[in-house]
Symmetry: C2
Subunit: 109 residues, 2 copies
Amino acid sequence: MGAVSPTLDATFFALSDPQRRGILERLGRGPATLSQLAEPSGLTLNGIKKHVGILEFAGLVETEKVGRVRECRLGPATTLSEAGGWIEAHRRTWEGRLNRFERFVEGAE
Amino acid sequence: MGAVSPTLDATFFALSDPQRRGILERLGRGPATLSQLAEPSGLTLNGIKKHVGILEFAGLVETEKVGRVRECRLGPATTLSEAGGWIEAHRRTWEGRLNRFERFVEGAE
DNA sequence: GCGATACTGCACCCATCGGTGCACTGTATC
DNA sequence: GATACAGTGCACCGATGGGTGCAGTATCGC
């Protein structure tokens, strides 16, 4: 419990880039090929491939080579759920602590 | 809407490191000085300071120099909420899309 | 079969990250 | 005032990230 979680690492890291969040949003509107992802981003195919690789490593997207095209779609939602779960869990202790702190401030100042 | 969000960038990036998540968990149990954060981590004071700096930049922690000690506590919960909000919002489209995809697979295979 | 297309692999660049050590400043403490 | 203590600033290091270009390779369309 509380041990290191490579999955959390990878997921949060993958989400920390606007370009990658953009890819996720785009894939949320349907699958796309690498070229289709690259086109609106202004990046190279290689640049996109790296981003997709990071997203794929985090389990956020899945890719499949079909013909000469690589199709990208959203991966299983469990990955996002895990990250969301972490945030939600900590938001609770967070708010509890802030309440306690504010009570302290009110009493001290 | 959909524009780049430096806040999201910084928050997700800050959360992508187990050491930093550890700091957040520790601060969830109460404020601490840099030395107190450094001690159980096996890191240098400088190493901890950098992590705290990243967390502070993301708005996840606040620090205050009191005497010769720097006290660290959790920052406003809004930062975490924003990140949680992003995840939650996308988890919806996610699951919607997966359902549609599964229907497609069932029909196709 | 041939040319265009869609990707892949590789090497490369520069910036940043994670982490260190060291010299320093400011604050307690005696 | 001298000493220990908590942090700070700076320079440094190796590894990695984001991004590029270029030379392949596989596939599609004619």
